[in-house]
Symmetry: C2
Subunit: 356 residues, 2 copies
DNA sequence: CTGAAAGCGCTTACAG
DNA sequence: CTGAAAGCGCTTACAG
């Protein structure tokens, strides 16, 4: 921690006051071009490094944004994080990252730390079981908050996905393929997003007058292991479902794997649909049909929502943003078998392209 | 950005000086327990939030660590990041995250930003093509640096993997299975880690007096797409290799997928070995044999190396750490076919367990 | 055991 | 167009 030259040193070197140096560093038009150049030259010569912390302390405006993520083992959230970091960096903000691993105590600790670090704003995907009061509490700290993926009420900026629509779409796709007994894997009780997804599934079934057995709605962990359990459960039912809508791609990957282990193939023995279109979904065997909402786009919108909030003044404060992306279905072999895949995939890929 | 109470306010509330408040917050034993309790009570009452930035400015000691990652689309680096963030958080440090996506300009920008943020130390996995001078430059800034996964000389702290040993191990495993024509997929030219991995492969082949055709060493992108290209190349060779060692799991996943698309199965048509043991490797079809070095352990060691560096004084400065983990092979179906998998996997899993 | 004072490196009215 | 001065919220010798 050796401390380099300060604006004071530059001022001495350039023969001006430190006020002038500060103004030059901020590219203020109030300083004559000639003087400005002299100052910049001195800064270069001394190897000056701007001290953002000091500026934040004095100017009362921070340029770091906190990003709190619940589950980085899910590649969808990684894509989201990367997009957010990229957009914020472009706007001159630095990203403070923290991972909660769905642990509420970790989340509390992390939020305190971010507050102490004086973040200008927060983007957060709350851990499961987060109290409904948390968003209001964070806002009471004076820190703008954007929630991603997991909504917690209409009065806080939220960027997510229309899960109900998406899961109805996925279910209808399976119904179109002739399936009538369709399971839902990954129904975690008391979990808002799971409720939305199940609701989408149920509404599509109801719309086509298909009945749903209670045991088709399978409550398993939202991991590959959960997917494997779901397959074992399905193959013990009789008559058994011939298709399954999975909570997300992580679950679906477990489903594909367990089928493979049983010597069966997704798309033939059991039609499978996932959600998130993670990068790996294209490379599973067989490739996975899945809902696409665009982590990159969602991350961009979340960042822009926060940036807009940061630049607004007290008076022109806008109501909370509630953005829910409409997902599209990317059809691959896991839901239609090897034969139909090419044409269907091509058709739907075009649809996806049109969406963006 | 509303500013809350400061130590000044607490001092007034508690009827002491701000020096005393500061000392209490630092849990100094110099303050009487009774006074300390009075101060803490006042802080609680006023909803005080510590301003770490101000402390850093005055105390000249920062508690943020910069983490620069080259490729977060590779889950191995995500595991590494998560481990590092966890260990640093436990020691009271905050992680500033940046992603370079292998882009040198982004890396330069990001490093400047971290320097302006006054990070106490840096953990970095340098982007491809990073100049050999960079570590020395960073150290000249007075910022301790730990390199992960990509070594750049003996005079900078480095935590990585013994790639040559690992790839020899992987290659020998295939030779043991009776393969004599073995390819290497993912040989990026001029890339130090790729050189090490190729060298391990070559030395195992040489040790067993097996000749290597030039075209068996396949230069493709280090992605699933690269793996697919490698498979197409292999199946055009005659006589063609019957096994392939892949640069990493990303490449191997592409190999598995292309084989599946050709109606062939890894482990039968072509034995496949990857490297990293990413979480997904367990869930591919078929499951992937791969080298395991333990991202979690590597991340922990990298963090601890940096923390040790941060707490050392000028005099007791230790020579650069050069830690290279010895990888183990996790044998799954992709290299041995369905029959042999259970027993072999069990045996080797035990080996892996013993390693930790 | 506690307090008064100086100062970390900046920014921002204000004066000229 | 530029400078002198005050101050952001802390920490740290130093004095008592």
């Amino acid at each position: 921690m050796k401390s380099g030259p300060t604006i004071q040193d530059i001022a001495a070197e350039a023969g001006v006051s430190k006020s002038t140096v500060s103004l030059v560093l901020q590219e203020s038009p109030r300083i004559k071009a000639e003087t400005a150049e002299k100052v910049r030259e001195a800064a270069r010569k001394l190897g000056y490094v701007y001290n953002r912390g000091a500026a934040t302390l004095r100017g009362r405006r921070s340029t770091t944004i906190g990003m709190v993520i619940n589950d980085l083992t899910n590649p969808f959230f990684v894509e989201l994080l990367v997009a957010i970091e990229r957009v914020l960096a472009q706007s001159g903000y630095t990203t403070l990252m923290a991972h909660t691993a769905e642990n509420l105590e970790t989340q509390t600790r992390v939020l305190r730390s971010m507050r102490e670090q004086n973040v200008a704003g927060l983007i957060m995907s709350p851990a499961l079981g987060t109290s409904d009061d948390l968003p209001a509490e964070i806002q009471s700290w004076g820190i703008p908050l954007v929630l991603v993926m997991r909504p917690m009420g209409a009065d806080v900026d939220t960027v997510g996905v229309d899960n109900e629509y998406g899961f109805a779409l996925a279910t209808e796709h399976l119904i179109e393929q002739g399936h009538t007994r369709i399971a839902f894997a990954g129904n975690r009780k008391g979990y808002a997003v799971a409720n939305q997804r199940r609701q989408g599934y149920l509404s599509a079934m109801a719309k086509h007058s298909l009945s749903v057995n209670d045991d088709w709605i399978i409550d398993v962990e939202l991991t590959p292991e959960g997917g494997r359990k779901a397959v074992r459960a399905i193959f013990e039912m009789k008559p058994r479902p011939t298709a399954v809508v999975c909570y997300n791609d992580q679950v679906a990957i477990g489903v594909l794997h367990e089928l493979d282990r049983m010597g069966k193939r997704a798309g033939k023995a059991l039609a499978v649909v996932g959600c998130d279109n993670v990068v790996a979904a294209e490379h599973t065997n067989p490739p996975l049909t899945t809902l696409f909402a665009g982590a990159d786009k969602l991350g961009t919108i979340a960042s822009e929502t926060l940036l807009a909030r940061l630049s607004e003044t007290q008076e022109d404060e806008k109501p909370a943003v509630q953005y829910f992306a409409v997902p599209a279905l990317v059809v691959r072999e896991s839901s239609v078998g090897a034969d139909a895949t090419t044409s269907a995939a091509t058709k739907k890929q075009a649809l996806v392209a049109g969406e963006r």
